[in-house]
Amino acid sequence: MPFKFFFYLIALFVLYSAYFVVTARNLFRSAMGLLAVLIGIAGMYLLLNAQFLSAVQVVVYIGGIVVLMVFAILLIADVTQKVFEQSPRWRQGLIGAASLLWFSLLAGSMLSYRFGAAAAAVDKSGSIREIGRALLSPAAGGYALPFEVISLLLIAALVGAVTVARADADNGEGKEGKA
């Protein structure tokens, strides 16, 4: 019962925040909404007995990505300028209806499908030890290769981000200098 209660509590919190993310007129508020969503999801992970993921979620997502976004927002826009351009009403309505339809389709299909019974094994793979073992195991079923690939990807992204921002920064400086 308490689990279910917590679930509903978190779910409502997350959905409300998510709604806030996609509707808020102020970009900064949106970001705060995203923050709330991510915290909620981290809670969900706890409910699902995935403590490590939950921690990762908080550290990387909230501590990394959201902060990055906030910085970007601060760089780009004047936060005090509250109103952002919104899509026209008809578009919002249309897309909202389509999204609802899509949701009903998804939910319907999920509910109508009979998932098999859970395996009886005790869920301990959410533990750090298990995940670490899986991530670094080169044997079949291990994720050593994807792990390495993702590290490459991160480096590439890092370098890419620096390059994109800097190359333009040069131009920007030049422009500013002229201006």
């Binding site: 996609v22 969503v37 409910l47 007995n49 993921l53 990387v60 997502y61 780009i76 919002q92 793979s125």
Partner: protein, 104 residues
């Protein structure tokens, strides 16, 4: 068990996904779109964990995958934001519905 079942999580993530989708299609600011994308990604990651928890607790795949998702999301955010900043410097706004220089 009287805790939330798999279906609870699935329906929840479906709803989150659709909100994200709605956001992606209606927000005009690129950063806001990116945030909507994060919602969608989170919904998907949650699904992984839920399936892992309820159906395949023995297999570590469901637990590992969200980590990859988070990593990819981080990379994506880094690059995307760098591009946004560059773009903003270039055209002084981030309105997707005004940007159509790739028009055919």
């Amino acid at each position: 068990m009287n805790g939330p079942t798999l279906e609870h999580y699935l329906v929840f993530s479906a709803l989150l996904f659709c909100i994200g989708l709605y956001g992606m299609l209606t927000r005009r600011n690129l950063i806001a779109m990116l945030m909507s994308v994060e919602l969608v990604l989170n919904a998907a990651a949650l699904n992984f964990v839920a399936f892992h928890h309820f159906l395949f607790p023995g297999d570590s795949g469901g637990a590992v995958f969200p980590i990859f998702i988070i990593a990819v999301a981080a990379a994506e955010a880094a690059v995307a934001l760098a591009i946004f900043i560059a773009l903003f410097r270039h055209q002084q706004h981030l309105d997707v519905q005004q940007s159509d220089s790739l028009k055919g």
